[in-house]
């Protein structure tokens, strides 16, 4: 792995850190400021960022009456006090080593939205046209592709303001391009670390899987200080062309005081397969919006999530399965284990557009309530405007069956261990859907780490 020292990089932001104006008494409530546009960004991108900042300023914060924010704890969304994360000298190598996949196609590490390490790319991949690089780099080398695909999909589930904020302030992230017919057996992995109090980051991921290609990517989001407040506003756009296969996984492990908004958009082409799995562990308030658009016949999208919610955490998950063409399939399975005073919201919609006949769409959310004070809200929705469809949704909320506990206890397993086993089994059903055993095992250990 080649470590890139921040200083060696044609950087970025000479005024890094100056975005915070802590001292002025008249400082605005939010300390987020528009990026002093980086001179090395192409002009179109600079313009886009400036326009996005204006859009962000003009849009109101979500209000109680917004249907897309029903049940959300809106007070978490105040941006007071955050400032863009500044450069840091934190060493994350041990943390990366601890969580790294044994075999991988490539790796990038970001700390406070700055690329600190990138694997020497396998020359054979490069020769086949695979591009795995930072957003910043790609703006120079693949400007046209970015211009076409960078946040080409609007935020559809309520976070327009945050999408604009991301567009305005994004400076780091992944650009992964897999050319036609290239199949990569091993996943890429990307780490986003945050260091410091009240730091905000804007991680971006753009994956383009060209026809007949196959690729997997794992994003990790980690706070170095498990109790420092902070704010993350991330976007991941997944473009899966005809007959391509893409598996995307995010592992969110922000600090217990973190607020995050993550906006996903997945476009699924003809006979293509997309899989999007979210593992949610950290954060005080985490909003996840995930949209799958099945744009051509025969496409399939699997939307999966595993959430371990404890203390006073709130996970606010909004999903949209949009079937635009006939013979498409989507299958959603979200599982929440709720401890302590945790709160979850799941609001999902299956939409079958006119003419999208012979759609198969499934949506299932399961809440396991493990404490008296936990609260699960479920809003599973269907809008069907076509016919000859098979659509079902189910939402259940319940607790561990006494019989199950009794069975385990009667075999000498103490209560806490028995509970943990049952929760593990409950959540593992989601991971069972993965078809890469190595990744599956790796993610199981991530879940276990948070069930201790």
């Amino acid at each position: 792995m080649a470590l890139i020292m921040p200083a060696c990089r044609p950087t970025s932001r000479p005024d890094a850190g100056c975005a915070t104006i802590m001292s002025t008494a008249t400082a605005p409530p939010s300390l987020l400021l528009p990026g002093a546009v980086r001179s090395e960004s192409p002009p179109w991108f600079q313009e886009l960022q400036a326009a996005a900042w204006a859009e962000f300023k003009s849009l109101p914060l979500p209000a109680r009456t917004d249907e897309t924010w029903r049940y959300s704890s809106l007070k978490a969304l105040s941006l007071d006090g955050y400032s863009t994360a500044s450069e840091t000298s934190a060493d994350v190598r041990d943390l990366v080593a601890e969580r790294a996949l044994r075999r991988r196609a490539g790796r990038m590490v970001f700390v406070n939205d700055r690329l600190t390490a990138i694997d020497d790319p396998d020359p054979s991949l490069k020769d086949r046209g695979v591009v795995f690089t930072s957003l910043e780099e790609a703006l120079g080398t693949h400007g046209e592709l970015l211009r076409k695909h960078f946040m080409s999909q609007p935020a559809r589930l309520g976070s327009q303001k945050f999408a604009a904020l991301h567009r305005a302030l994004v400076r780091a992230g992944t650009f992964l391009y897999v050319p036609q017919g290239v199949e990569l057996p091993q996943p890429f992995e990307v780490f986003h670390f945050v260091d410091g109090e009240n730091a905000s980051v804007f991680p971006h991921t753009l994956v383009i899987a060209e026809p007949l290609s196959k690729v997997a990517l794992v994003d990790h989001f980690i706070s170095l200080d498990a109790s420092a407040p902070g704010f993350a506003c991330g976007v991941n756009d997944l473009i899966v062309r005809d007959q391509a296969k893409l598996a995307y996984t995010s592992v969110q492990d922000w600090s217990q005081a973190f607020v995050s908004v993550q906006i996903n958009s997945t476009l699924v082409g003809r006979d293509a397969r997309a899989m999007n799995l979210a593992l949610n562990f950290g954060g005080r308030y985490s909003r996840l919006e995930s949209v799958s658009r099945l744009e051509a016949e025969g496409g399939r999208s699997d939307m999966l999530a595993v959430t371990v919610a404890g203390q006073d955490q709130e996970f606010d998950q909004r999903t949209h399965q949009d079937h635009l063409k006939p013979n498409t399939t989507s299958d959603l399975l979200y599982k929440n284990a709720l401890f302590d005073d945790a709160r979850t919201i799941f609001s999902g919609l299956i939409k079958v557009e006119p003419g999208a006949h012979r759609t198969d769409a499934y949506q299932k959310v399961r809440n396991l309530l493990l404490s008296e004070n936990a609260e699960a809200n479920s809003l599973p929705g269907l809008e069907i405007l076509a016919d000859d469809v098979r659509c079902t949704h189910g939402a259940t909320s319940g607790q561990i069956e006494e019989e199950e506990l009794f069975y385990l206890k009667s075999r000498g397993i103490p209560l806490p261990a028995a509970q943990r086993l049952i929760v593990r089994g409950f959540l593992n059903e989601v991971l069972d859907r993965l078809d890469n055993p190595e990744l599956q095992e790796h993610l199981r250990s991530e879940v276990d780490r948070h069930l201790l």
């Binding site: 009456t65 917004d66 249907e67 029903r70 049940y71 006119p354 006949h357 809440n367 309530l369 493990l370 404490s371 008296e372 004070n373 936990a374 609260e375 699960a376 809200n377 479920s378 809003l379 599973p380 929705g381 269907l382 809008e383 069907i384 405007l385 076509a386 016919d387 000859d388 469809v389 098979r390 659509c391 079902t392 949704h393 189910g394 939402a395 259940t396 909320s397 319940g398 607790q399």
Partner: protein, 469 residues
């Protein structure tokens, strides 16, 4: 399957007629404080009702239309073009002979009071704003059962009426409950004394006769401890080209151990906006069951609810909706669990035909520190044509470890194999379709009283006629 525009004249013709009845009392179009004064004076109501109505009018004006979740279909209602009170004057008649001939003709055409003679314990008929006929069998009234119009209830039985009126559904619950509270007229007031089990159903019949008219009946039913009651209502209106508004408020109170079943077969004509708030309060071990069937109207928004306030209370909503061309049936249920060991069950089946749209919207709420609460929700939707639409929007909140909920919904259509199978055996495609649809709702229809389930099957047959081709 291709779409066609089914001819639906047949069923609606039952109600599609109107007589030019002279209304001696007419509050005119539009809604101001003067309208309210007119209604209060015409009905000679006490002052507390006048204040109550005026307060409600302010709430109505302050509340926006619920466009954030309901879309903008409601903005087609022109509140200034509606007539809020129409009556021919005079007290509610107790015998059929006393009812004025022109009104009598209307109801006789609709089969009232013949149906009463058959099996009802009592019947009330409302024509535009006022109850024109109200009768209760002697055996039932001897048991102490009160069954009168709401105006009579608030005048003659204030000690019971005032205690519960507006308590289950407060004025400010929503914009349309506020509107109803401002201009309500008609509807039933029923009180069943402790331990009395009314064997036969009580029935109300609602009829809109005039154009541009809004009907705002108000029903309050109280079943005292251990009492049991079944109440049924039906509705029709002639088909005018302009929009008509029906916005009722129905409050049920089931005290300890009481049981109330409330059956609605709604077959308004397709120019009626049917925006109704219905809610019951179930005390300890009480049971409230809404059986709700929506076939008519242009837009129905109705979510019968039960607040499960006492231990072991039970709430149930059985809902059937059929949406044809130009119709949107936005129906569902609300279950608010507020005590331990309360259970609720929601079963909803909807059928979308032609360009019809059926929506299920639901709310289930199980707050903290309750034990042993259970909810089961099932929504099944059937789509008949390629342009039919169906939506499901439930909202379920559960806290704590002692409770469980489950929600399931499915959307399907009648399989070509089923139709083929039946055609093989000599049924026409239309007959096969009707049979399949009736099969889809059969287990719910069986829960209706016999007369209603027969009627319902017939209505479904008629709606399905010409829907394939």
């Amino acid at each position: 399957m291709s779409t066609s525009t089914p001819s639906l004249e047949l069923d609606r013709d039952i109600g599609n007629f109107f007589y030019d009845v002279k209304s001696t009392r007419d509050a005119g179009t539009g809604l101001t404080e003067k309208t309210i004064d007119y209604i209060v004076d015409a009905k000679a109501e006490p002052d507390w009702i006048r204040d109550f109505r005026k307060q409600a009018l302010r709430v109505f004006r302050d509340k926006p239309l619920p466009t954030s979740w309901a879309g903008d279909e409601l903005s087609a209602i022109d509140f200034d073009a509606i007539r809020y009170y129409l009556a021919s004057g005079g007290a509610t008649k107790r015998t059929w002979e006393e009812v004025p001939d022109d009104i009598k003709r209307t109801f006789e055409r609709l089969g009232i009071p013949e149906s009463e003679r058959k099996f009802l314990a009592g019947v009330e008929a409302q024509f535009d704003s006022e109850a024109v006929y109200s009768n209760i069998k002697k055996a039932v009234s001897d048991q102490g059962v009160i069954f009168v119009g709401s105006t009579e209830g608030l005048k003659n039985h204030p000690e019971i009426f005032r205690k519960w009126f507006g308590k289950v559904i407060p004025t400010g619950d929503n914009k349309f409950s506020a509107l109803n509270s401002a201009v309500f007229s008609g509807g039933s007031f029923i009180y069943v004394p402790p331990g009395v089990k009314v064997k036969h159903p009580l029935q109300a019949y609602f009829r809109i006769n005039a154009e541009n008219f809004g009907q705002f009946e108000r029903t309050l039913i109280i079943a005292d401890e251990g009492a049991e009651l079944m109440y049924m209502e039906g509705c029709t209106a002639p088909r005018f080209t302009t929009a008509t508004l029906h916005s009722a408020v129905v409050e049920l109170v089931a005290l300890k151990g009481a049981k109330i079943q409330y059956v609605t077969v709604q077959n308004w004509s397709p120019n009626v906006f049917n925006l109704v708030t219905k809610r019951g309060l179930a005390m300890e071990e009480a049971e409230i069951k809404w059986i709700d069937c929506n076939i008519g109207s242009r837009l129905t928004m109705k979510y019968p609810g039960v607040v499960l306030k006492g231990r072991k209370a039970r709430g149930e909503v059985i809902s059937i909706a059929l949406a044809n061309d130009g119709q949107h049936q936005d129906t569902g249920a609300k279950m608010v669990h507020a005590a331990d060991e309360t259970t609720s069950n929601i079963v909803s089946k909807s059928i979308s035909v032609g360009k019809g749209r059926a929506t299920y919207r639901g709310l289930v709420h199980v707050p903290k520190h309750l034990k042993g609460c259970k909810n089961n929700t099932e929504c099944d939707a059937l789509l008949i044509n390629s342009q039919s639409r169906t939506d499901t929007y439930p909202a379920i909140t559960v806290r704590g470890t002692g409770n469980s909920t489950q929600h399931e919904a499915s959307v399907s259509q009648i399989s070509a194999e089923q139709i083929f199978y039946m055609q093989q055996r000599g049924l026409s495609e239309g007959q096969a379709m009707s049979l399949a649809v009736n099969g889809f709702v059969n287990d719910l229809v069986r829960q209706f009283p016999m007369e209603y389930s027969v009627e319902l099957k017939r209505l479904i047959d008629l709606e399905m006629e010409g829907s394939v081709g």
